[in-house]
């Protein structure tokens, strides 16, 4: 069984939903594929508020933000195929052939473009080489969040949280509110990974200690976690002998990073940027494979869902356009101070509107100056206050700034403090 559409959107989380709406509004026949039983993606379990301040001027909870976009999709009668999973994809003669499996069987969808909006997965304790035994009670923060918010169960009663990223901080508060006790939050870096407001409202409010420059080395316990061993680390993040401490607890919650989910993209030969773990894209968010777009957390890990929606709209709009023109891709050069910069390429043939770049600095700084050079000249400059790798930055560049260039484009970030 097979059928056709113009744009196939994989994922009905905030990225996929926004991309589908934008693609539809640009005139494409759109189909959304979602592996869960209902749309909303990770936002369904993010019941805390803070979403939509930029996009809607309101402080919404995750499910509310998702519902705004589900409403938009429903209003346009765009089909969301739930409990449907992509098993295989191939590009042939300029079209994408995507194999889907669902409760009705195997199907093939032929589409002109594909938007991969499948989000990311969590880094595991094994990936950071936590040692010891493998008892019940070790879980990533997202899985803990699912158990608590979607099912109403506490997977831990007294835990240690490793990682001070926002998800770890949010779970510290959530678990405490539900009656569990968080012995402490341990962070390997010398500074917290999450937003200062989350340190305040998730840790300080509940008197949960934050231990910087610490990590969890081992887990003990045969069947259920009985304790974890923490240690202080040095500047190279190596454990310092003699600082080991055993903390009795029944759970270890890990918030040690997110990894964009791109196995499907890699299977059709897309170029991946190792600094984002997401695809290399041009300003339309098209990847190195023509017609294959990426947006949301699958492209790079965002802090704010508002920017996920923004990037998704760019991808959706562009995926719907039929362009016969071959791309002229210029790879952007960037200075060392960037952790990453997205997009990584500019299609010089299609500079049709303002361009949005997202970046993270490599390290924290009080102030930073971003300079953009084209053909050797400085063409734009912007100052950023208080740079922090934990906070993604955004810069808009007007169309005419880049339009008439024919040489190298370079982004330079200098920091102070």
């Amino acid at each position: 069984m097979s059928y056709e559409c113009d744009v196939l959107v994989i994922g009905a989380g905030p990225a996929g939903l926004a991309a589908a709406v934008a693609a539809y509004d640009t005139g494409a026949r759109v189909e959304i594929i979602e592996r869960e039983d209902r749309p909303g993606g990770i936002l369904k379990q993010c019941i805390h508020d803070g979403f939509g301040v930029i996009r809607f001027g309101e402080k919404l909870s995750g499910p509310e933000y998702a519902a705004r976009y589900i409403d938009m999709v429903e209003k346009r009668h765009i089909r969301i195929r739930t409990k449907t999973f992509v098993t295989h994809m191939e590009k042939k003669d300029g079209f994408f052939f995507t194999q889907l499996v669902s409760r009705t069987g195997i199907e093939m969808i032929k589409s002109r473009s594909v938007i991969l909006a499948a989000g990311c997965r969590e880094r595991t304790g094994r990936q950071i080489f936590i040692q010891g035994s493998r008892p019940a009670g070790i879980l990533t923060a997202g899985t803990a969040q699912y158990f608590v918010n979607m099912k109403g169960y506490l997977p831990v009663k007294r835990c240690v949280i490793l990682g001070s990223g926002d998800i770890g901080l949010i779970m510290a508060r959530r678990l405490t509110l539900e009656g569990a006790s968080v012995e402490g939050v341990y962070e390997i870096k010398p500074e917290p990974s999450g937003l200062p407001r989350n340190i305040a409202q998730c840790l300080e409010d509940f008197e949960i200690p934050l231990h910087l420059s610490h990590t969890v080395m081992r887990v003990n316990g045969e069947n259920r976690v009985e304790s974890v061993e923490v240690a202080q680390v040095d500047a190279a993040f190596q454990p310092i002998n003699g600082t080991e401490r055993v903390i009795p607890c029944d759970g270890l919650v890990l918030s040690v990073g997110l990894i964009p989910e791109n196995e499907l993209a890699e299977s059709i030969g897309i170029e991946i940027d190792r600094s984002t773990n997401g695809p290399v894209v041009d300003q339309s968010l098209m990847t190195s494979v023509d017609g294959f777009f990426s947006c949301g957390n699958a492209l790079h890990v965002n802090d704010l869902v508002d920017y996920v929606s923004e990037s998704a709209e760019i991808a959706g709009r562009n995926a719907a356009l039929k362009s016969g023109v071959k791309r002229e891709l210029s790879r952007i050069k960037k200075s060392e101070n960037f952790a990453y910069l997205v997009p990584q390429l500019v299609d010089m043939k299609r500079i049709e509107e303002k361009m949005i770049f997202y970046f993270r600095p490599g390290k924290s700084a009080g102030k930073g100056t971003l300079r953009i050079f084209g053909d050797g000249r400085e063409i734009m400059k912007q100052v950023f206050k208080r740079l922090n790798p934990a906070e993604m930055e955004r810069i808009e560049i007007e169309k005419d700034t880049l339009e008439h260039l024919n040489g190298e484009i370079r982004f330079d970030l200098t920091t102070e403090g």
């Binding site: 098993t87 194999q99 040692q131 158990f147 099912k151 169960y153």
Partner: protein
């Protein structure tokens, strides 16, 4: 010996074995003493009872009756241990009209050595000719092709490539070839120069590190790979299909003897009376022998760590790769890179003498050692490709060989002990031999006939992700659950998980499901699917999610309902353990 250790170790003879007693400071000394004693020619075994101050007593002594399920059952054969050995023997014996009972102390089969190895079906090159290992290895290897078809488990004949970088050792090849021949290995191939280059560039080892200065190599075509726990389960399911009774959560506590016969066996699930008792208790086989008053050997658990590599690097090699440092030693550190039937790579194991039989905790130094030793064999593999790691302990005796024989002192006790590598490969051959001997003895006690309607085959849980689209569609149309993907990393459907929960061997744990259908073994290690698997278990088995465990006993996944406040009432969970058969 008293020279080396002063007054601390006393050496005496017990039966045909050497008995060591005394006190030393470190475990390595205990093992060293045992190995020294093992060098003495002609002894049957080493009973090493040397005490060591630094060893903490971990394993709880004995246990007690939890529920009388066995109720003085009378059977022909009692098999102690539900690993690959015990299950294989059960299947062989099930070909006869016999009452067979297999007891396993854990909540599931294959929870120890049988799931903690690299799945390699060794060709038979390594064991010393004339040893028990050599007797069974190649023979067992040759039986896997048929077994895998009959029992519907995945098996691949991938061959193995042993790389050597000492040119001066090349003349040793004829010795290797001769040993292989003596051990019954069908063929080996000597590769050097152009031949080696051609092999290296072939599809078998596409990413073998070209910069490795390997001067010669031996290729052994008969090496195979299986999923060891899936195989164990497949073998046992067939045994059960053919009448074997399996009792999980059943631990042997003591034996009652009358002269030289065991007349009764007390377990945590009641008493059982068997005509023949077969001891396949893995690292606890010496303890079972001790309970019977027939301990003539001691297990010193040698731990090994194994790394699992992401499936997306699985294409780097299609054959087993290793670069041995030394040939011929009894307990080489060995190991290598082994592809799995599911497309991952396993790297290791290493070897560490340590005192704890069931301590499977890992340590960074072992992981680093394995990375340093083996990663250089391949191009394009790195530490970031490691998705998980685990450890196991080998049931090694001091003589470092299999024990497959009747007890010298007890007429109805058969020991199948000390089964370390190549135990998995040898299992079918061991089982055949044990069955022949046991049936022969039983025939002298009663009339024993072959089972008329013995079923050789067993159907496993379908692996939808491996099917072609047409076949997969057929399955899904018949049962839509097969089209609902739960584990996205490994593409495992709800239907397969439900099949696991309704399979012949009752499993109610998250790990039990994982062992059967792989859900949770992918790169996200259950991050997405664990809650869904818990929900499916709760729904299928009518269980309260709070009672669901990771691996039995008190390994509960969930601690309490959010609606309950801690000081309001006690845990809503029921007391008692999970699996009861």
């Amino acid at each position: 010996m008293s020279g080396q250790y002063g007054q601390k170790v006393i050496c005496s003879q017990k039966g045909s074995s050497i008995l060591l007693e005394g006190n030393v400071a470190e475990w390595t000394d205990v093992v060293a003493a045992g190995k020294m004693a093992a060098e003495i020619k002609g002894i049957k075994g080493v009973i090493n009872k040397i005490e060591c101050a630094s060893v903490k007593k971990k394993r709880k002594a004995g246990g007690e009756l939890t529920e009388n399920v066995l109720k003085d059952r009378r059977v022909d054969v009692l098999i102690i241990g539900g690993g690959i050995i015990g299950c294989s023997i059960a299947r062989e014996l099930s070909k006869w009209d016999l009452d067979i009972c297999l007891v396993e102390k854990e909540p599931d089969l294959a929870m120890h050595a049988s799931s903690r190895n690299d799945g390699m079906i060794h060709p038979g090159l390594v064991p010393s000719p004339g040893s028990m290992k050599a007797k069974y290895n190649a023979k067992g290897n040759g039986m896997y092709e048929t077994l895998s078809r009959e029992l519907d488990f995945e098996y691949k004949r991938v061959g193995s490539l042993l790389l050597f970088d000492n040119r001066w050792l090349a003349p040793a090849y004829p010795i290797l070839a001769s040993r292989a021949e003596k051990n019954g290995v069908p063929s080996t191939e000597f590769l050097t120069g152009k031949k080696l280059k051609r092999f290296v560039n072939s599809k078998d080892a596409p990413s073998l590190n070209k910069s490795l200065e390997s001067k010669w190599a031996v290729y052994i075509p008969s090496t195979g790979i299986v999923s060891p726990y899936k195989t164990t389960i497949a073998v046992c399911e067939n045994a059960i299909l053919n009448g074997t009774r399996l009792f999980l959560n059943t631990e042997v506590l003591s034996f009652e003897r009358e002269n030289d016969t065991i007349i009764s066996c007390k377990t945590t699930k009641g008493d059982i009376h068997a005509k023949i008792i077969i001891n396949c208790a893995g690292t606890a086989s010496d303890e079972v022998a001790e309970l019977a008053g027939d301990r003539f050997f001691t297990i010193h658990p040698r731990k090994g760590t194994i790394l699992m590599i992401d499936r997306k690097r699985g294409h780097l090699t299609n054959t087993v790769l290793s670069m041995p440092n030394i040939i011929g030693k009894k307990d080489t550190k060995g190991g290598g890179i082994v592809p799995t039937v599911e497309g991952n790579l396993l790297v290791g194991p290493d070897a560490e003498e340590q005192p704890y039989k069931e301590d499977y905790s890992t340590s960074m130094c072992h992981i680093d050692a394995i990375v340093n030793q083996h990663f250089r064999l391949l191009e394009g593999i790195g530490k970031k490709d490691i998705i998980t790691y685990f450890a196991g302990t080998r049931a090694s005796t001091y003589l470092e060989d299999f024990i497959v024989e009747w007890s010298d002192t007890i007429s109805n006790l058969f020991h199948v002990a000390g089964i370390q590598s190549p135990g998995l490969a040898s299992a079918p051959a061991i089982a055949e031999d044990v069955s022949e001997k046991v049936v022969s003895k039983l025939k002298r006690m009663k009339d024993v006939r072959e089972k008329v309607n013995w079923q050789a085959t067993r159907k496993g849980i379908p692996r939808l992700a491996q099917m072609d689209p047409e076949q997969r569609s057929v399955y899904i149309i018949k049962r839509p659950d097969y089209g609902e993907i739960v584990c996205r990393c490994e593409e495992i459907s709800k239907g397969e998980i439900r099949d696991a929960l309704h399979s012949p061997i009752p499993v109610k744990t998250v790990d039990g499901v994982k062992r059967r259908v792989r859900a949770g073994m992918g790169r996200c290690q259950g991050g997405f699917c664990k809650p869904l698997v818990v929900e499916i278990i709760a729904e299928e088995l009518q269980m309260d999610p709070l009672d669901i465990t990771k691996k039995g006993r008190d390994s509960y996944i969930l601690m309490r309902d959010v609606a309950v406040v801690e000081n309001e009432k006690a845990d809503s969970r029921e007391e008692g353990d999970g699996n009861v058969v």
